[in-house]
């Protein structure tokens, strides 16, 4: 049990520190509440408008990419240092890992992980065939202003 003593002492000290800090700030701090201090996420400035409710989540995909590269680096550096000792086995293992990693990266980019800005989706036009048919030209669909090209007799109308 003796070997656990430092952990217990540390736990007691941590708890004491937390309780004492709270108690001290409760007893010593002057209380002068104001709007700015009462606001959530207080930073001294009164918020002038509600935060936007919807925001693009592209950042989390970038964060995912970051974690992926992070993990690859975590494994590559130790391999680079221990490469001579790890031999062919280590090389094969790190190659399998790198290929799998690269393919997941390809997947993410192919699925639009790095496309920024408004989304452009390719659309199937077969449903709109009559709108995009070659018979419809600017002469057949746009009503011309002026007398050019108008059938005679329409002038009166």
């Amino acid at each position: 049990m003796g070997q656990y003593l430092p952990i217990i002492v540390l736990a007691v000290l941590a708890a004491l520190f937390g309780v004492m800090t709270l108690a001290a700030s409760h007893l010593l701090a002057p209380r002068r509440p104001s709007d700015a201090k009462e606001a959530p996420y207080e930073c001294g400035i009164v918020p002038s408008r509600e935060p936007p409710e919807r925001f693009p989540v592209n950042f989390y995909i970038v964060a995912m990419l970051f974690i992926m590269f992070d993990i690859e680096i975590i494994f590559l550096y130790p391999y680079a240092i221990g490469r001579e000792n790890l031999g062919v086995y280590g090389f094969v293992a790190i190659m399998i890992f790198s290929v799998l990693f690269f393919l997941t990266f390809v997947y993410e980019v192919a699925r639009g992980g790095l496309d920024w800005g408004p989304v452009h989706r390719s659309r199937d036009l077969s449903a709109d065939a009559d709108i995009v048919s070659p018979e419809r030209t600017s002469a057949s669909t746009v009503r011309h202003v002026g007398l050019d090209g108008r059938p005679a007799g329409e002038e009166a109308a």
Partner: protein, 510 residues
């Protein structure tokens, strides 16, 4: 100048061929994901066909390995990290069957939802690879890696129906509770490591064999065993660790529920067999009563609470808890001879039960998936009123699956239930065998309730409305349900080959 260390590291020898069932699944998952992302949407059913092909290839390779193991005896791979024995191959084949059937159902489901994409299938394949690692692990850390690979894929799959908030809810619940239980498992592994000095199952067994009982760290080890059992009991959804099951199965897309109820449980039971029967036979007097109680509570809770459900998916979830109780009866009877050279009829009965249960539960959820139409939410019991007049063939298939789950003769369910009860009687666990049979009578009531609703009640206004558009299904769904129904009946009538194959599941790699 840094002194160059002398190279002392030699990598373990890797038998790629023996690992091939696993490698095929992983390679297919990665290939499907990358090729699917780089190419325009494939023709209908393309992703599912590739998935079924990969699962079939993996199962065929596992059958070839089965022959090799029968000839040469069990062994371990990758420096003792993975065991290469018949039970590992049996669980591999069962999981591959689950992947193939569920992939076909998923294709049908995704066409109705207009959500087709390779991600579902890639996640199934990855989850299957994780499940196989779990069921064939010979090292507790490898086992944990398998648990995480399976679970992470299942969390995503449960939330995969992006348009239904219930699916999101189910994914989040499963994620929070599942990671909690993984932590229990990991803590248990750490304590067992502390007590025995190794996470390798072979070395744990050797240590327990050679050490004097007084020198062992029993308190540490037993706490570790208890924590690991909590973690695994959560994964198999044994009561009282079952609370997540109805919510998650109800909210998840129906094919995913089928996959969780089949492959997820098969893998977790494989892991449970490894941990309890292979690694810890010396402590069976300590863990056997725990398994007994888990079996009892699962049997009772699963059957009794299922009776009051009004949603078919929740009802099937509770019935799956009842099935878990039955499989635990098999594990309990295997415990009597754990560690012996011939471990008795317990493990074979567990294997047969899991294979039969996998097929019939996938069939049941498959019918529910088709019956619940494009929204995947018409799953109340009332929406099955007059189902037999709307879709007579599907109703017949559903009846077969439900009768099989109830354990009616001439279905695979009877063979499975008979097997575990017989194993329990053979090992003189009369009490739990009797309780299992009594609860199966209670459970029969709930299966009959669905059957009566389908065949005998008049359709009301709501179910007449359901008869309209959106109930059609594609050939993939029909094929999957047809194969499942065919297997259920075929094994019920000609069970000999399956029982003979499972009889060999008694020798484990150590």
């Amino acid at each position: 100048m840094i002194a160059q260390p002398v190279s002392t590291f030699t990598g373990p020898e890797i038998d790629w061929y023996a690992l091939s069932p696993l490698l095929v699944l992983v390679a297919a998952a990665v290939a499907l994901l990358v090729a699917g992302a780089l190419t325009p949407p494939w023709p209908k059913g393309g992703y599912a066909i590739v998935t079924v092909g990969a699962a079939t290839a993996s199962a065929v390779l596992a059958i070839i390995q089965w022959q090799n193991i029968s000839d040469d005896g069990p062994s371990t791979l990758v420096a003792g990290a993975v065991s290469f024995d018949l039970s590992a191959m049996f669980f591999t084949i069962t999981i591959c069957v689950a992947v193939a059937l569920v992939a076909l159902l998923t294709d049908d489901f995704l066409r109705r939802q207009a959500l087709d994409g390779p991600e579902f299938y890639a996640l199934y394949l990855v989850a299957a690879a994780g499940g196989i690692v779990m069921a064939s692990a010979n090292d507790l850390i490898v086992l944990f890696l398998g648990v995480e690979t399976l679970s992470l894929a299942l969390y995503v799959l449960a939330a995969a129906d992006r348009r239904r908030s219930k699916s999101q809810e189910s994914g989040l619940k499963y994620f929070v509770l599942g990671s909690f239980s993984s932590a229990f498992l990991l803590y248990g592994i750490a304590l067992v490591y502390g007590a025995t000095g190794s996470t390798n199952i072979t070395r744990v067994v050797v240590y327990l064999q050679e050490s004097v009982p007084l020198e062992r760290f029993d308190a540490l080890l037993l706490t570790g065993v208890a924590l690991m059992m909590v973690g695994l009991a959560f994964k198999i959804a044994a009561a009282p660790f079952h609370v997540w099951t109805p919510d998650v199965y109800e909210g998840a897309p129906s094919p995913v529920s089928a996959f969780m109820a089949s492959a997820g449980k098969v893998a977790a039971f494989g892991a449970l067999v490894r941990v309890l029967i292979v690694a810890l036979p010396f402590y069976r007097e300590d863990w056997q009563p725990v398994v007994w109680v888990l079996a009892l509570v699962s049997l009772v809770v699963g059957s009794v609470l299922a009776v009051v459900q009004t949603n078919v998916k929740r009802l099937l979830a509770y019935s799956s808890i009842n099935h878990v109780g039955f499989v635990l009866v098999g594990i309990e009877s295997a415990a009597h001879r754990a560690g012996a050279v011939d471990s008795g009829p317990g493990v074979p009965s567990v294997g047969v039960y899991l294979l039969a249960y996998t097929v019939m539960v996938i069939g049941s959820f498959g019918v529910v998936a088709i019956a619940s139409r494009s929204g995947d939410d018409a799953t109340s019991l009332d929406s099955f009123r007059g189902f037999a007049t709307r879709r007579p063939v599907l109703a017949v298939a559903f009846t077969v699956f439900l009768l099989a789950q109830a354990g009616v003769p001439f279905t695979s369910g009877f063979i499975a239930k008979f097997g575990v009860v017989q194993a329990a009687v053979e090992e003189r666990s009369y009490a739990i065998a009797l309780i299992a049979m009594l609860t199966s009578v209670v459970a029969a009531f709930l299966y009959l309730r669905i059957i009566v609703t389908m065949w005998m009640s008049e359709p009301d206004d709501a179910s007449v409305e359901l008869a309209g558009a959106g109930t059609s299904n594609s050939w993939t769904g029909t094929l999957s349900i047809g194969l499942a129904a065919g297997f259920t009946v075929a094994v019920g009538i000609v069970p000999g080959w399956l029982l003979d194959a499972a009889d060999d599941l008694t020798q484990f790699a150590r």
